[in-house]
Amino acid sequence: MITVFRDIYSVLWVDLRFLRRHWLRTLATSIVNPILYLVAFGYGLGSGISFEGYSYLEFVMPGIIALTAMSSSYGGAGLKLHVDRLFYKCFDEYLMSPISLFSLAIGKTLIGVVRGLIASITLLIVGVIISPTLIISPLFVLVLVISCFVFSFLGVLIGLVAKSHQDMGTFSTLVILPMTFLSGTFFSLSQLPEAVKVVLYFLPLTHSSQCLRAAALSQPFPWLSLLALLGFGLVFFAGCMIALKRASV
């Protein structure tokens, strides 16, 4: 058991060294997008609008935090892994070392979680300053951490199965980008037709933003969404393990 933790930390260690060297650049690139959304939608488009009894800024803030957690965790876990595997071909070093595939999967996931948390906490600080009604409860933190895990698992999975740089780009354009805008991040799902809603419930970010918003605005908490989020996490993790097993054939 101790070996498993030690191995996980060894895998994480190397990515933490990288992060330590490039922290400013990493942080800047992960919060520029959310801040643009915040200014464009929260202040620009949404000023003066009230939404479900909240100002639009209060409403949109948890959604933007959810999408920050998603993009930073997904990118943080997946992109370097993908580049290391396909372009630098240094991923084999992990496979040739005596650490378990489980430790490898979790270690590679944790760097995404760390980067997702750093970006979303930074944004959260901005959020608390401009929208003081946000409630940061333990439940909010729990959902945020779970979200980071779910999207890091997804990042590792895509980083492992993508056969080319184009594959990564295609997945970002076809899945990540639409998810950013459609998953109840910028608007309430209650405005949408039932059929569309059903489709959107198949996107993990929908559940992430629903849960974060409910926790932040102390609305009734959608426990089923939390369960769905955990389900997505489990499926993505299982996918990572299968992909890693296949990597050594």
Partner: protein, 287 residues
């Protein structure tokens, strides 16, 4: 003599492509074994199977008596691998890369530090320890890769085309390092498509072509089978013809009896390139 690597009827196919076919090989403890062959002959595939990265289609392979398919974790503990391409994390320093390998192999922190300093000194990289790998020269990168693979004192070191793309001087320094590792007791399995590298370093050489081992022995033995002296003759200004003889006397008497239209006659020692060409009908460097 203890065998460190044993393969029996080892075969690896990718679809219809036979990368390695029926390979039977024994590498003795403490030797430098060279796997010589052109690009695409199956050298890297063999290394990938022996280092547990790829599963064989059939046959078996053992490293240090551990089966690569059944006991990959035990194999991983006794091997060090230096890949053909730069496999270090290029954004980290040499020391960080070494520490990373040491962590993967469960070295304790005091031992890590000691071993890193010792190895940096061994290959003359102490002053480069805190430089980012990306900024190093080709030779330094290769030396950094070698020391990173030695952190856990492997019994067998796999070197896949260790000197590809390096200049002559750097290559000689690396040869020196490989010889030193050998003298210190490490068994070395190296692949190369450079004839002179195989001749300069290896006690025994296996020649691989189209996935099959076509000859195996000491470089001198392989040359003896062919003839130690080679005569090159240009016939009709068109084709160079090669003849091999056991000694200079036999070669000289052959040259004296050549027809008058034979030109540009060269008498030289035969080499492994000759062995390879005679066995396969092509040159080692051909793709």
């Amino acid at each position: 003599m203890e065998e460190v690597i044993v393969t029996e009827k080892l075969t690896k196919r990718y679809g219809d492509v036979r990368a390695v076919e029926d390979l039977n090989l024994k590498v003795h403890s403490g030797e430098i074994f060279g796997f010589l062959g052109p690009n695409g002959a199956g050298k890297t595939t063999t290394i990938r199977v022996l280092t547990t990265l790829t599963k064989p289609t059939s046959g078996c392979a053992c490293v240090s008596s551990f089966d690569v398919v059944k006991e990959p974790d035990k194999v991983k503990k006794v091997i060090g691998v230096v890949q053909q391409h730069l496999s270090l994390d290029r954004d980290l320093t040499v020391r960080e890369n070494m520490e990373f390998r040491a962590r993967l192999h469960h070295l304790e922190s005091s031992e890590r530090r000691r071993r890193i300093d010792e190895l940096l000194d061994y290959v003359g990289l102490t002053e480069q320890a805190n430089r980012i790998v990306e900024d190093l020269s080709g030779g330094m990168k290769k030396r950094a890769m070698i020391v990173s693979s030695l952190m856990h004192r492997p019994k067998v070191l796999f070197l896949d085309e260790p000197t590809v793309g390096l200049d002559a001087q750097t290559r000689r320094r690396l040869w020196e390092l490989i010889r030193r590792l050998h003298l210190d007791g490490t068994t070395i399995f190296l692949t190369t498509h450079y004839i002179e590298e195989a001749e300069a370093l290896c006690q025994r050489v296996g020649i691989i072509h189209l996935g099959r081992l076509i000859d195996l022995g000491k470089p001198l033995e392989l040359r003896q089978r062919l003839g130690l002296v080679a005569v090159e003759t240009l016939v009709n200004n068109k084709e160079t013809c090669y003849q091999y003889f056991a000694d200079r006397a036999a070669a000289t008497s052959y040259v004296q009896n050549l027809p008058p239209d034979a030109k540009t006659i060269i008498i030289r020692d035969s080499n492994l390139e000759d062995v390879f060409v005679e066995l396969t009908g092509r040159k080692v460097g051909d793709d």
